[in-house]
Subunit: 443 residues, 4 copies
């Protein structure tokens, strides 16, 4: 145990190094004002002797650049820091003459852009990882307008994906004893059900029937990568407001039989495309199963961000809406109907079967149209239930006509569910949802 604490001291060093950079005024240490020249030096043999110092200088210089200068730097990396094509061509020739393991490896090495070595060496600087994640965050905002930057992003993605391998991540519980600096980020990064203020935050992390877990990486001090909020309930919930309510009866963990994942938020824009959610959910389930043996259900209460967008776009045409549904489509776009019981009830009769169709049939590039469905079904969860008027917030009404969905994680089925989904695009669901779906198609 104290060996753990010995090791745990390690972090202070990482942290101090990380902080060190941030405290520096841009350019303070930079001896070389030409960022391209610094990059050149860093990948050269000079970088071997003085890599840490050069990387530090380059990152400081970069910090002080204007947006346009940053973009120009990125473009320079794309144009001038690719692989050496002469060597690549040679290796290809050798490969084509004798296509064996050795010649393939040589191609792989020769085809690696020197940008990748540059990024690896930038990571030598104190706070380098943080700076690189931040650099990619900005890069991603520029790719649409500058598609040639995709090559650079591909390098970033390749390295960050390897460095942020789940084996290097650690899951921590977030609670009322967590440092304020981290809690503040939880408030800021919450992407599903906004956290109003510190009182709201406390309601989500402090009571005995609430949990919050996050992944961290040793080199990104103080920065959650992703977090999930969990509520313990007595049954699978069909609406979000009882969970978020300011006043409610608090359960002891022993009273609950269900763990509800009601909010999952990615925190780092610079790590886009690197998947943490699947691992986080499964780790939380693992841990909860050990701690709380009486929890039987591990289920989400998820938004349906694509439903109204689908319904009101051309995409729905494939569903062949009937007259009732077309009428419903009109009404959905009005506001306030959720407070009119009979209107809402009538709409529900039409929209629930349509939602079942949406989940079971509608695809985008072969995967479910709905991104949240894509995520949980891809993780091996089952589409458990579609809940009517489950989220009456403005956002919930606008994007999903108030619908929310439960995805159920049954440990024993995860792999087969995933296989069915990955191989055959099959959406595993319940009889109830299937009946809903059929009620429409047989109409």
């Amino acid at each position: 145990m104290s060996s753990m604490t010995f090791m745990s001291d390690l972090f202070s060093t990482i942290a101090d190094r990380g902080r060190a950079l941030l405290d520096l005024k841009p350019g303070h240490h930079a001896v070389d004002r030409d960022i391209g020249g610094l990059a050149e030096a860093l990948v050269s043999s000079r970088g071997e002797a003085s890599g840490v110092a050069l990387a530090r200088s380059l990152l400081e210089l970069y910090e002080g650049l204007s947006d346009q200068d940053k973009i120009d730097f990125f473009k320079l990396l794309v144009s001038d820091f690719g692989p050496d094509l002469e060597i690549l061509n040679d290796t290809i020739e050798r490969y084509q003459q004798s296509p064996d393991a050795t010649s393939v490896i040589e191609i792989h090495k020769a085809a690696e852009p020197s940008r990748q070595e540059l990024i690896r060496r930038l990571n030598l600087a104190p706070g380098g990882t943080r700076a690189l994640v931040s650099m990619r965050k900005f890069l991603l905002t520029q790719v649409r307008e500058n598609p040639d930057l995709k090559a650079l992003d591909s390098d970033f993605h390749h390295l960050l994906d390897s460095w942020f391998n789940r084996g290097f991540l650690v899951m921590r519980r977030i609670d009322w004893n967590t440092p304020a600096a981290i809690l503040e980020k939880i408030i800021r990064y919450e992407a599903v059900h906004a956290i109003d203020d510190w009182d709201d935050l406390r309601r989500r992390i402090d009571p005995p029937d609430r949990r919050c877990y996050a992944f961290f990486h040793p080199a990104l001090v103080d920065e959650p990568l992703i977090f999930v909020e969990v509520a313990f309930t007595e049954s699978i919930p069909d609406a979000i407001s009882p969970i978020l309510a300011k006043t409610r009866e608090i359960l002891t963990p022993e009273q609950a039989n269900t763990a509800v994942f009601y909010s999952i938020s990615n925190c780092q824009a610079g790590l886009r495309g690197i998947s943490f959610g699947n691992f986080l959910i499964k780790q939380v389930i693992d841990d909860l199963r050990q701690d709380l043996e009486h929890i039987e259900n591990f289920v989400t209460l998820s938004p349906v961000p694509g439903f109204v967008q689908w319904l009101t776009s051309n995409a729905q045409e494939s569903a062949g809406l009937n007259a009732d549904e077309k009428a419903a489509l009109e009404k959905v776009q009005e506001s306030g109907w959720q407070d009119d019981t009979s209107k809402a009830e009538n709409l529900g009769k039409v929209l629930l079967p349509l939602a079942a169709h949406y989940f079971l049939q509608e695809k985008s590039k072969g995967s479910p149209y709905d991104p949240v469905a894509r995520f949980h079904l891809g993780n091996g969860a089952r589409l458990e239930r579609i809940n009517w008027l489950a989220d009456r917030s403005d956002r919930g009404m606008q994007q999903a006509a108030g619908l929310m969905v439960n995805y159920l994680y049954v440990i024993a089925d995860i792999e087969s569910n995933h296989e069915a989904f990955a191989s055959n695009n099959e959406v595993v669901t319940t009889n109830e949802v299937t009946r809903l779906f059929k009620s429409r198609s047989t109409r």
Copy 2:
């Protein structure tokens, strides 16, 4: 500060995960007895849903294999987990038609053996990094007899080099408050001047004029990667025994003006080829300069492991030994001469100039013949002094005729020294050594 400790808790999780695996009896959890099948599954889409579990099973299964079965598994990885050659050929064709950034990236991706993805996914398992380092350790012992395994080692090297990037390492001081489990490894891994027992260890880490620093990686709990032992002295030392003496006058750090790096040991055979020493020495110098402003000299007291081997092999022919030197060569191979003052003095007159020649002229593949010289000169240090009868231990006599060398690190000169060395094979040294060298050649 307490945010640091928050982060530092993270390690316990990593550690527990790491320990978990080691405690398992081999095969305990493995459901699938075919390691090839498991590897196949892990890189397939099944690996996306159940990567952690599959990786764990595979590593457990591997642990239980015989050496021969491990080798067979390695061979399978080389033969069956390379890149998809059809795709590779397609991308080469596309590249040859339009050689642009995109097509180059595609080649790079297509040429990547699926072994690399396999290794990345094995890292998902608790303790995965440790298991992979251990796997490579065994692999390295097999490469000479099975040269085709080099392809697999190349993949290991590529990934471990990226994962053990200096930006992810943390330096810790090793002292008498360090957990015994780590100190025990310091005793075991010391490769230069063996540590006899716990008392000897204490003499090297506890007194105020001794320091020891090591690099650690967050995912390799309890495992130093490399460590360096430092002595504070009043001048640049010319022999090792006063430093290792059981009884000696202990200085306060304030009395010293020199920090002597008298032992550097790599600890992880599985990380061979990944360079830490350069970074460690420079980090220690940085830290000491901040703590102890009166330390002026940062210098090694290094062995000369190649000298006698060079002298007694054909290699020395290039030096054109004269009669005296040939006579000395005979005497050196006798034993006990170091205790005969006049014999030793006479030998010194001949061997010191020859050693200067050895350091300044003798090359192996363009670099200094002596591996320790290669390392420090490559780091930008200067060959400061050659010391006669500096190491009278059996080992010191046998490999270096008692010679030891000081390499001096002058911060301001490191980069230019390195440049001179890297570009022109130039060995930067002092007038004294140059004079020694000339005294022979002009003879």
Copy 3:
């Protein structure tokens, strides 16, 4: 360093023990429903074998008592858990026959109420210290109406004073990385200038020119005992609002030459009468002097809580107010005059000299009338300056007519100032304040 972390692990145990008790439902473990009987058992020999369990039961039982039952329990302790008078009388007799060191010690022992042993044994329980501090907090609210409880309070004070000896306290910086659970208490316990919300808190602990420090005790987890808020400024401040302003220019610590202690709050009502402030201020000064060598002035910006109360009570009669002063006394009690520049200016001319009189002359039981003056002068500080319209808040106007005071801590003078104060009731001050004082008396 890692030995530190070994030791630091210790706290988790203390903490867990502390938490354990609090989580218990009252009476959950209590086997014996009679608290008096439990107390009896605890001080008896039964308490030697089963002290921890008995103490735990008693504290749980106590938690569940009504206020009146608690008071009855306290009364029982006073009546039945005093010293054994027979033994006491014997020892007095022996002492009177032979008054030596031994017989005096025997008296001391015999006169000790068995309540003290009871309290010591209650401390054996997990969370015992916390429970005892809380018990005394309630006790203190009852002493006025039940003066006989003073005997019990005297025992509590004696033991807590010894247990919370400064040698056992640790000072921690409170900043934005401090756990929210502790920050929340800082908000709640701030007694001088209320903290409005988390944003206000952050303004006081996070910027580089703000600091906050607290004392903690190992056995009172998560509970600050006292804290002080510090601002770094460019000169000795003469008003509080620039310090508390929402928007202001933030200094680097290097720009400042003055550290201002602008708020000191005791946190634990159950530790009343145990002095921490003196030690905290001096420790903070010590630490800041080491960290920030350019800080020259260590000074407070303090309220004057007794001024208006003194002025409007009979107490002022001793000052012999003249006509102007009597008129001012009337005006002071009106509201809003601080916003009328000429009114305020005229009042200032009268009130500042009167305040100087108040500080230099007015005593209560030989000490300065003003409690804050008593504290800082008793610590060895000097009355540096009286600031007009320095606190225009409602509270500041009502209790001090807007006055605030700087007390200056000059390390070299602390001891002599304290001596002058302690021995001769002398208030060390500046020529400026003396002049103010004389301007009145000579009028």
Copy 4:
């Protein structure tokens, strides 16, 4: 949890303060060369303003004193730092006039020697607690020759007993991950079965069927107060050598049903008379019961340090030895008989009943003659079994003729056992021991 780590940081401060003092050369900071004058100042009002500095100076000065000067200082404390007898006499008078709660408290206060306040104020210094414990350690060595120093020791004992209340102690497991600086002390302080070297230590703390636990106090960094070594076995052991054996079969904790406390050592001579062992054993039992539910027996394997001493002294006369026993008494004092099977067997027949008599009947001041028996029986354990030839080491033979004893801790019986022992001097034991006893008495 991170709040724990926040709190745990606290220790570093305590520790640094503690270290600070030790690093000082004696007298370095002392401004006042007269230790009596410093003591005077420290208890005076000067001590209120400058307590920390004065305490520090005094302790530094003390460190540099010769033994004789220390003794003189102690004597000064006895003669000049007692209570004020005039005041004491006044309070006695008042008490005799009106013997109520108030007047009793006044006597208690007046009878307190000012030495106690001096000791409390010495504790203000960084490292004060450690220095005071060390001061008492030396004091205890002087009391026999200077009985008047008992008064001072009484004050030390009173305060240390209160400060080292079990409520402030923390129990830590000692294992192979514990810092070497602490392990080294375990080796040094082991008082029952000496630890030969680091390998021997490791055999006692590292295997899964071995445990070691120690109590620590927050203010005594790195210093275990007491520790206990535990072995897990498959039955109640009847000899020590299988437990200490260099090579033996190692059990998993699950295979064991018995936890054997085979060594308990107090570490701090300066805390003599303050009892930790009772609390430590019970805490370890509590913790093991939670962790390892299958452990049924909590038992010691204890030495019998008084047996041979009793047997060979006049003390045995009370037992009325018969002829066989007298003969045995002779033989016991020879050496080597333990290796002669028949001799040993014959001796056993005589000595075992005599040992039963020794445990059940022989008293010193009303308590069992044997100090280890006194301790465990006083804790509420039961005398379970007397083992013949259980410790064949020189020490075991010399002090106990090879006998060892098991004391069994049965949680449910602890309190009643203790009561029987404390009230009636009753030694609770088994039928087997009773039979042994009777076999002698009825002979």
